[in-house]
């Protein structure tokens, strides 16, 4: 188990390297909020989500919706490492003719359930999937990752009200609580705390975790699987730009690609993380 978790964490740092390279090569994109949610996504895809990379439209699959579509580099990285498409293709990100559009697009890439990018819409779609699965008497689940800046969109609260009201216990929402949005700290731009109490009052099962700690991520998803009669909301405290010292908690890297020099420094730091984990594993 311990080695398995170290292995996952290692892969997450490899995907962070891809995120830096993709955004550097595209000279655009959103590395900060991609690096904050990559541990959660990788853990979900490799351990919980029922899916078939060779058969993305498999009828009995679980669904994942990346409501914060700007974290597309993280999603593409995880999909490539899960075998949806060759890793080489990651470098086509945001380029003309690529399946890897700036924000994830359903009509371009199999495995993307719905197009996202304009914030606030994914949870409503996830609710619809959860209702559809129940109507079909399917055992499958739907997972939806939202951002904390995104939580300021009114539609998210409409959707939280809906899923709590309908007791959608096949729905798991994960909040990537990295604390930063383009204009600064979320709590300074438009404060959201106390999030836990607010969501609980909407009839949700709320779990608070460290979004970079694999034991906690796993245990949260396990609690979700066991919870009946209400949807689950995981508040994952994360670090924007996680893994690269000069990007961590630095809002400049919300929507800015690393320069060539920053890329080099960043990759070096990420390699150091990978070496550290490999030493711990042996």
């Amino acid at each position: 188990m311990q080695n398995e978790l170290l292995n996952l964490e290692t892969v997450a740092y490899q995907i962070r390297k891809e995120i830096l390279k993709m955004t550097n090569s595209a000279n655009s994109g959103h590395p900060g909020g991609s690096m904050s949610c990559v541990d959660i996504l990788l853990c979900l895809y490799s351990k919980f989500l029922k899916h078939e990379p060779n058969k993305p439209e498999w009828e009995d699959r679980d669904y994942f919706i990346l409501s914060k579509g700007h974290a597309s580099p993280a999603l593409y990285g995880v999909l490539a490492y899960e075998g949806y498409f060759p890793k080489d293709e990651l470098m086509t990100f945001r380029k003309l003719g690529s399946r890897l559009q700036g924000h994830p697009e359903r009509l371009f890439l199999k495995g993307v359930e719905i197009t996202t990018g304009s914030l606030g819409q994914g949870l409503s779609v996830a609710n619809g999937i959860a209702l559809g699965l129940k109507l079909k008497k399917s055992e499958a689940s739907v997972y939806c990752l939202i951002g904390d800046g995104e939580l300021q969109e009114g539609q998210v609260w409409e959707a939280i009200l809906s899923s709590g009201h309908r007791k959608l216990d096949n729905l798991c929402v994960i909040l990537d609580r990295n604390g930063l949005q383009i204009d600064g700290f979320v709590e300074q731009v438009k404060g959201e705390e106390p999030i836990e109490e607010k969501i609980k009052s909407f009839n949700y099962n709320v779990i608070k975790i460290d979004g970079h700690n694999y034991s906690e991520i796993i245990s949260a998803f396990e609690i979700f699987k066991r919870t009946k009669g209400k949807p689950t909301f995981i508040i994952a405290n994360t670090v924007k730009g996680k893994g690269v010292s000069f990007m961590e908690n630095n809002v400049d890297f919300h929507g800015k690609a690393p320069s060539n020099e920053e890329l080099e420094r960043g990759l070096k730091e990420l390699d150091e993380h990978i070496e550290r984990l490999e030493r711990a594993r042996s």
Partner: protein, 313 residues
């Protein structure tokens, strides 16, 4: 001509479809008694989702249901089902090409007493601008039934605009729908009238008036505003060489604008657009408002006569 409600026939047809196909589901935003989705809701409560007063959430929920293989019909008033949730329709429905059918009631000024806030005059403009969206305004209650049946079996997004008011039928119950749709209801050679929705039966009355003034008008129902039935429209334009459009919508970016653009590119002839000028509606009884906005047959006939004279000199 007998008056029938487009929304009544929508409710009835949706219920029939629900009986025939278990994949049909319906969503409403607290207006099911008005949009008539209540008929479906009563018989199929497990397949009906009242989203409350939350149209943006409703559009996303519908998109999600479509991803599980269901065919969602989403209903509310035209004003709430377009402007209120434009971005959700744009991204979760149109960019994603989800199989969502948006069928709204209460389009246009004949909403009546509720006034400007509820009289949607820009919905056709918003919906025709969206790639992947097809936009239909049935000419009467019977055509509404055939449109609803058609879109249930056609993959991808649709926007269908219905009315609050009952108005005269122009088709019998055997009307069948296809895309694109425009048909000639009355042949003529002096003027082509392109109309949509409840202006179609008004156009037929206008044509009667005009014949008394020695103008032989051709009347077309342009039910699909997107895609346009270009060939049928161009044939009438080529025959008559002067045209007018009639719609219960802003003349900016509605049916008139679509027809004008087509004719400007393919067969430039004089075109006059009738509808609501660049302004919002006001409270009043529906028939009073039709007269106030000069969309009644007498006003239209008079203005058309002047328009024809202007170009015959």
């Amino acid at each position: 001509m007998e008056k029938k409600g487009t929304r009544d026939f929508y409710g009835k047809t949706l219920l029939e479809l629900g009986r025939e196909n278990a994949r049909i589901v319906a969503l409403d935003a607290d207006l099911s008694a008005s949009t008539k989705t209540c008929l479906f809701a009563k018989e199929f409560p497990e397949r009906f989702f009242d989203c409350g007063v939350a149209e943006a959430d409703m559009i996303g929920t519908a998109a999600g249901l479509s991803l599980c293989g269901f065919i969602p019909f989403v209903s509310t008033f035209a004003v709430f089902g377009t402007g209120r949730c434009y971005d959700q329709i744009r991204q979760s429905v149109c960019i994603s090409k989800s199989n969502v059918k948006i069928v709204v009631t209460h389009g246009g000024i004949t909403v009546g007493e509720d006034g400007a806030t509820h009289q949607m005059l820009e919905d056709i403009a918003l919906m025709t601008s969206l790639p992947n969206m097809r936009v239909i305004v049935p000419a009467d209650a019977h055509q509404t039934s055939s449109v609803i049946r058609f879109i249930a079996n056609e993959e991808g997004p649709f926007y269908v605009r219905l009315s609050r008011e009952k108005f005269p039928v122009v088709y019998d119950e055997k009307n069948t729908f296809h895309l694109p749709y425009a048909d000639v209801l009355k042949e003529g050679r002096d003027l082509a009238i392109f109309a949509s929705g409840l202006m179609v039966h008004q156009a037929l009355l206008v044509a009667k008036n005009l014949s008394k003034m020695n103008v032989d008008a051709e009347v077309l129902n342009v039910a699909s505003i997107k895609p346009l039935a270009k060939e049928t429209i161009l044939n009438s334009a080529k025959k008559c060489k002067i045209a007018v459009t009639m719609e219960e919508h802003s003349i900016i970016n509605g049916l008139g604008a679509q027809i004008s653009s087509l004719l400007a590119e393919e067969f430039p002839i004089p075109v006059k657009r009738f509808g609501v000028e660049d302004r919002f509606g006001i409270s009043g009884k529906p028939d009073q408002l039709i007269r106030f906005f000069e969309l009644n047959p007498e006003s239209l006939s008079h203005k058309i006569k002047l328009f024809i004279e202007k170009y015959s000199k």
